[in-house]
Subunit: 335 residues, 2 copies
Amino acid sequence: MLVLRKPYLLYLGDVQTKADAKTAFGLRDWCRADVLAEWSLPACPVTLELPRLDPVAAVAAGAGSIIVGVAVTGGRLPVHWQDDLEAALLAGLDVVSGMHTRLTECPRLVSAAARSGARLIDVRHTGGDYPCASGRKRSGNRVLTVGTDCALGKKYTALALTRELAARHVPATFRATGQTGIMIAGSGIPMDRTISDFIAGAAEMLSPDAESTHWDVIEGQGSLYHPAYAAVTLGLLHGSQPDAIVLCHDPLRTTIDEYPDFPIPDLQAAIDYYVAAGRLTNAAIHCVGLSVNSSALDEATWSSYRDRVSAELGLPVCDPLRGGLSAIADRLLSA
Amino acid sequence: MLVLRKPYLLYLGDVQTKADAKTAFGLRDWCRADVLAEWSLPACPVTLELPRLDPVAAVAAGAGSIIVGVAVTGGRLPVHWQDDLEAALLAGLDVVSGMHTRLTECPRLVSAAARSGARLIDVRHTGGDYPCASGRKRSGNRVLTVGTDCALGKKYTALALTRELAARHVPATFRATGQTGIMIAGSGIPMDRTISDFIAGAAEMLSPDAESTHWDVIEGQGSLYHPAYAAVTLGLLHGSQPDAIVLCHDPLRTTIDEYPDFPIPDLQAAIDYYVAAGRLTNAAIHCVGLSVNSSALDEATWSSYRDRVSAELGLPVCDPLRGGLSAIADRLLSA
């Protein structure tokens, strides 16, 4: 399991748009208490509106890691950012990156890390050793977000549901399975990087035995309907042993993202398929709602969509950004 | 993709039983034309009844690799076998092993390989880089063996079916996905060692476009009903895009091997589940028969089991070791 040192200094380099700094904004919004400050190059027009601290000042304030909170095109780490990252390492900060370029392929950074003892953590490339799944039923409760496709809100839904449960004083833990989620949580397992024999075992390790009232809210990955990534989804589903699933969906999408020959499934069929597959390791699995990215729908369209689909499925239909997940939390806790 | 240098010298060390030399016997029986000879320590009581050649003589006769064809308890490579393996490397043979001990962890062998230029190939530990699956339908025909559990004849069935098709002059290629299969075929992808994001992509690469009359017979892995390995099974199913599946089954097994809380599924339900899951990447997928390990059944019991289950499923029911797979090949080719 990957464990990061909090609190964070968020690094923006010289990204030119807020969109490219999406990861940093996500960290600011989802783990604000773990974010000390931001740092960037002088030419950077983007700000998180946090205090600015250079690496030395951030360490003095208690920071454990500098997070490269950007997602630039191609995922390459710009060479002229290395001055700041080297300074951060020498100040004692771990450097955490989700970019395609591996930090460990940058000799300057490897050398600085060796001198200071700080770590280079490539969240995207961290595999790790995990046991085979045992199939043993664990104590506590689990809810997993699943999807009709990739990239339609499974992480966001899990985070929002965790926050909703916490607001109700229900003990709940967000369990991260992807790189941004791991940065937010400070720990987790990059599920898509595990050796395939150990996916389910890694998922078992991610959500251990817990108190009978506790909920693990597990970030889903991929989709059972995705021709490339369904295996990751199934291993995560089996190892998570969820009592409940939330199906995430984008009503405007008609085919799998980047796979135009693969249709988005019917919602009831998708729920039935996830429940049938998940029943292998938890006979009690059931769907507690549909989480929709409704950003492209006007209010009237969303309202009628929500009412119609909710009636069809017999389930709450929510958009976490538009009214929240309260109805889904109600259903989850009523079982 | 892992590609081995044939022909082989099969090495037995000093195993004490035929059972421990199972891999070597399998290679002798399934790729006899690629096996030149055997070699072992003087104290080895087991023989494959092949010519004996030491490594130097085997190289002179054209051998490309020495295969450690054993499966001893614990999977450790005995230290006193290293003399022979070092001699083999210095003679120019690649050393191929499926044991848990990595050849690359033995300094003597690493040093000998570096001196001669021969390779150390740990079939069990070879990952490799593979692309994401594209989902693009490929030309040619594919049949995949699947199972109600692990370890009940998926490799054997695929090999026997390939042989049956070849006997009928149907162009067919066995595609190996596990370590013994890879040794037999001389190439393949150890599917359970791939990074989970790339399982389906690896499976696509394993069975490329082919002539319209050609059949790839793909060795299955795991089971959709296995709480630890179903992800591997699903990724292989999606990437293989099989036109046909053969379900492999052991009629005496009531629960998943080593997972007593997980029942063996009903046969029709299992066929329906595999077909439903496989339909994602090949709408034409259908089951062409049941391959049974009937070794524990007497002739009368087997005969009545076969007739009853065949009538229930409306499919041929065969044991490759007891009457062969002719009826399944008929069904496969009739579609």
